[in-house]
Amino acid sequence: MSYAYLFKYIIIGDTGVGKSCLLLQFTDKRFQPIHDLTIGVEFGARMITIQNKQIKLQIWDTAGQETFRSITRSYYRGAAGALLVYDITRRETFNHLTTWLEDARQHSNSSMVIMLIGNKCDLESRREVRREEGEAFAREHGLIFMETSAKTAANVEEAFINTAQEIYDKIQEGVFDINNEANGIKIGPQLSPSSQKSSSGNPALGTGGGCC
């Protein structure tokens, strides 16, 4: 329950690239081939550990269709990390990355960590986008890159955790203003300054205003 930080993520990308499946694999460790399509936005959360710190990831899974773009845009603000997903078996989803990235940069805070994800890497036979292309795109735009498979769970954990690691590092470097919640980072209740004062033996119940 108690955590040191809460990071807010957003998952974006074209429709049908496997955003919801990635989330489901990460939060529930299962793959659901038949999945109702996402309308608007859905949520998931999981606790991870980075450098012995408990970190809660709050993940906002968005709908991919252009029609819902106006909704998706309103969720960029207040996200610390974004997973930009494309489908390696459909070139068009890769071609649309630029649009997505522009959208993300425009509507998010500048320090948001963006990870580029080429999903469905289990379908090697139907591959349309080479791994090198993804890497090049990531390098060009300053993103972290990874190929994943929500079906086999390959690299799924890593994608989420590496992003969190990056955010955590940025916090340590002071890039993120952790007191501004618009950055998508919340300090957990156990870090609040008054916890030492509290003699009631319950450290989670601080009276400081740092976490609200």
Partner: protein, 616 residues
């Protein structure tokens, strides 16, 4: 409160009457009063203490203990000091008289208090003493709340508290911020002092020893913060306003009385949001539990949430949350029995009466397919009184449907490549696959679903295809028993209810509810049953027909009120003043009615305009 020269020393030894006696003569020998007076004072003091102890020795001891700890630093008024100073200010005769009174039973003593000025002084001291007592216990309770509540709640509580403290310290600035903590403090103060009358009627109850132990142990744990809270505690009633504390209550049972008071404070904390409420419910319930008060004797403070009281039945069952008031409907609605085939066949139904009937009771049997064209507004003839029992004529619709369908069927694969929306029909596969109707890999109904969606794309280019449409189509196709033409036209009509929901983009949390008309939400519990969804949708579709229903209702009301007024008008002849009153009353009724009519018309306009807007 008069400052007393002896206050410092006296307060340091306040807890012990024995010590008090030793100190006291020295102090008062310097005053004008003689040794006689001293003796009387001492006897009086002893008696007050005795009478207090008689009512709740435990709590008194506890309060004394607290005061001993606080005595040197805080500014709380001390009983012994206070009474010493006031008694020495009084005249000899008064003391002698009061001394006699003090020897009597407590209740009789109380009665005499009213008559005697000196006793008034005494009750003032008691008031101050008890004021400090409640201040202390509230201070502890504050700590207790902070320590026990879940994070969000305690933070909120702290916030309220801080605002109050801030405002109490910046007393002059309260005008600039009308909803400031000062105001809240006043509110809270009213809470605390509201029911002096009612609480005096309350049967005094035995305090719970376990709770007392808990609290007194809490006293120790929170001692480090204690001074802060006691000196700034905004929940303590202001001392300068006499006569506002529920004195009788405290005399009877100081411990429980302060807990009672605290419950009002927790009311303030609990009321704001339901989320906080749900988290804090159990804990607050525990906080409230030591008060063993019968709910029937509880006084309710207007404008507050009902207090949670857990009765001490102790069968381990937590008390149910307080019942929230039901949303009041503007017009009382009686849900009718579902429309069955028998009833349908015996009556003549116009479109309007049928829609009203469906709105009030929906269907009981599977003849939806027969009725839907009428209630969904597919009938486009001139005759509004069309008998709905007549089977709907699909022929023209069928032709139109085939025309639209042919348009997309003739699209070349090359065209399709540049038609992103067209390719997105893959989404059909991701819809209701658990439902038996759409189960299986090569289910023909899935193909039909695609067919309908693609045809709709040709029917309405501007809307085209939006994810979520498949959610709307799937139950319709199910009702249409796989007939794509019928399902398509049902869908076209259904879309008119959703297309105008553009503003739903702003309701992020409810977006899916609105876009899919709650389909996902009502499917969740039972993934292979459309019945609940259909019931809801039919009500949505037919609600616009309630306009006529309301108008009829209004007409009936008018007739009724006209009948009621007619005997009055006969009596009016006798007195002009009466008739004036009656006239004004009937005018009020008329105004009310016209207000209602305007409201209904406005509502109906909104409902009616929706389809026409979408046509544009």
């Amino acid at each position: 409160m008069e400052p007393s020269p002896s206050s410092n020393k006296a307060s340091s030894s306040s807890s012990s009457t024995h010590q008090k006696r030793k100190h006291h003569p020295k102090k008062s020998s310097s005053s004008d009063a003689g040794s006689n007076l001293d003796r009387q004072q001492r006897r009086e003091l002893r008696h007050i203490k005795k009478s207090l102890k008689k009512y709740d020795p435990k709590s008194l001891a506890e309060i004394n203990r607290e005061q001993q700890n606080q005595g040197r630093t805080n500014t709380n008024v001390n009983l012994t000091t206070a009474s010493t100073s006031s008694v020495s200010a009084s005249s000899n005769s008064q003391i002698i008289r009061s001394n006699r009174a003090l020897k009597k039973e407590h209740r009789r003593q109380e009665k005499r208090e009213k008559r005697s000025r000196h006793q008034d002084n005494l009750s003032d001291e008691l008031r101050h003493y008890l004021g400090s007592a409640i201040k202390n216990s509230l201070g502890h309770m504050h700590d207790h709340i902070i320590a026990t509540l879940p994070t969000e709640m305690s933070l909120y509580y702290q916030k309220v508290h801080d605002t109050l403290v801030f405002d109490a310290n910046h007393d002059g600035n309260n005008d600039s911020n009308p909803t400031s903590g000062r105001q809240m403090m006043n509110e809270m103060h009213e809470f605390i002092t509201a029911d002096v009358e009612a609480s005096s009627n309350r049967p005094s109850s035995s305090s719970n020893p376990a709770q007392q132990e808990q609290i007194s142990s809490n006293v120790n744990s929170s001692r480090s913060n204690y001074h802060h809270y006691s000196s700034h505690n905004p929940y303590a009633p202001p001392m300068h306003k006499p006569g506002i504390l529920p004195i009788k209550d405290f005399l009877h049972d100081p411990f429980n009385a302060s807990l009672n008071t605290l419950n009002r404070v927790t009311n303030l904390v609990r009321v704001p949001t339901s989320q906080i409420y749900s988290h804090g419910y159990n804990i607050l319930n525990n906080l409230a539990s030591p008060v063993n008060v019968q709910p029937s004797t509880l006084s309710t403070v207007p404008g507050t949430a009902e207090r949670i009281v857990r009765r001490d039945n102790d069968d381990g069952i937590p008390a149910p949350p307080p019942v929230l008031p039901l949303i009041q409907c503007t017009h009382h609605q009686t849900r009718l029995e579902p429309l069955d085939l028998e009833e349908f066949n015996v009556k003549t139904w116009t479109i309007e009466t049928l829609r009203q009937r469906v709105f009030q009771g929906v269907f009981s049997e599977k003849f939806r397919l027969q009725i839907w064209p009428y209630i969904l507004g597919l009938y486009d003839g001139d005759n509004d009184d069309e008998d709905c029992r007549k089977p709907f004529d699909w022929s023209s619709r069928q032709k139109l449907f085939e025309h639209y369908r042919s348009q997309w069927q003739s699209i070349l694969p090359e065209q399709e490549k540049r038609f992103m929306l067209f390719r997105e029909q893959r989404d059909v596969i991701r819809c209701d696959r658990t439902h038996p109707f759409y189960n299986g890999d090569r289910n023909e109904n899935l193909e039909k679903l695609k067919e309908i969606l693609l045809t709709y794309m040709m029917y309405d280019f501007d809307t085209g295809y939006v994810q979520g449409m498949s959610d709307l189509v799937s139950p319709l196709l199910y009702v249409a028993e796989g007939d794509t033409c019928k399902a398509f036209w049902f869908f076209v009509q259904t879309m008119e209810f959703t297309v105008t929901n553009n503003e739903s983009v702003n309701c992020y949390f409810a977006f899916r509810w609105i876009v899919c008309q709650f389909k996902r939400e009502f499917m969740k519990s039972n993934s292979d049953d459309y019945q609940e969804v259909l019931l809801l949708w039919e009500s949505i579709w037919t609600c616009s027909s309630m306009r006529k229903y309301f108008k009829n209702l209004l007409r009936q009301q008018r007739q009724q009120s006209a009948v009621e007024q007619s005997p009055n008008s006969n009596d009016q002849v006798s007195s002009t003043s009466e008739s004036n009153i009656d006239n004004s009353q009937s005018e009020d009724v008329k105004n009310e009615e016209s207000d209602l009519a305007i409201k209904i018309d406005e509502q109906c306009k909104i409902v009616d305009e929706q389809p026409t807007e979408s046509d544009d």
